[in-house]
């Protein structure tokens, strides 16, 4: 059986440093002396709003 860990939070109250702290025990073993690609999605180009003249 796999292990999954949950940190309950929400968009308005998430603190990035607290998040990193919660993840730290997992990142410690995972990262040591490794060459790591952090795979993510950077989002799309933001729509440009042209002001009306």
């Amino acid at each position: 059986m796999a292990n999954v860990y949950l940190w309950k939070t929400d968009v308005d109250s998430i603190d990035p440093e607290e998040l990193a702290g919660k993840l730290e025990p997992f990142l410690e073993d995972f990262s040591k002396n490794r060459r790591i690609a952090l795979k993510m999605h950077f989002g799309e180009k933001k729509k440009q709003h042209t002001p009306k003249t």
Partner: protein
Amino acid sequence: MRKKSNTHLKPEWIEPIYSSVAEKSKDCVLMDCTVLYNSPRALASSHIKVARDNGFNFAPIVIADGERGREEMMIKVDGKIFDEVRVGGALEDYDSLLVVSHMTGHLGAGYGGALKNVGMGLGNKAGKMEMHKAFRLKIRRRECIACEKCVEDCPVDAIKIKSSRIPGISESANIDQDRCVGCGGCVGTCPEGAIKIPWTAAPRKELQRRIAEYAKGALKDKNALFINFLLNITKKCDCVNEKQRPMTDDIGVLISNDPVAVDQASLDLIGKRTFQLRELIDPEIQIKHGEKIGLGERKYELTEL
């Protein structure tokens, strides 16, 4: 109800994670691949610019399949569909993958999470084409105005304007199904909404199974960890260039070393019916197939941090 917002993960959430990993590792980069459809992210240089413009300025960025998405590494998977898969070539330089995913709904794949982030996300252009081959788009000729916008938008020149035999319609767009890769870019481009994705279950089931096999390839022999953000959970994925309203309440952040388990737990917490409101696709297909091909297990124990 929350206000609409841009949906991708916020760079300020990722930066401390990156810093922590970079401090301990030999090397760490942010990674993605080019996309198949008409977008600045279709080329590596403009993809990196989008990332920088969206605030990802704190780390080197590698677009693993190169400027035009042609650099690749073939990986044997011995799957039910693919013998081998085609992922971004630069992946070879890294022994570990930290997969940071935003859980969202997805029109084609049922949902987007860790498996889709890795499977679809790390396929190079040819790989993405193989996965999207599950779909065959259709044009409603009576609605087509032959404006050629879809012709200009198609990344593989699969659409042409041809004369029509339908009474009252002189010409309309036609899709060469052998060339079409099913990326769906034209669906959004058509001003008349004349191009339709056949939302039958079969191609979407097939797409999910293909994604799982690509995920297996990208993760082969890698040390891997998966972080799923169940925040600002929207109906459409982060590729959609529009502000969206969340479909449900925020839940939190999940972490696991099993990609199947982390996605299963994510769907269980969100409730898979959340992503089935309009589409009758089962979003668990990619998870079930992932387990079947040995990518991980659906049974998990959830521990609150």
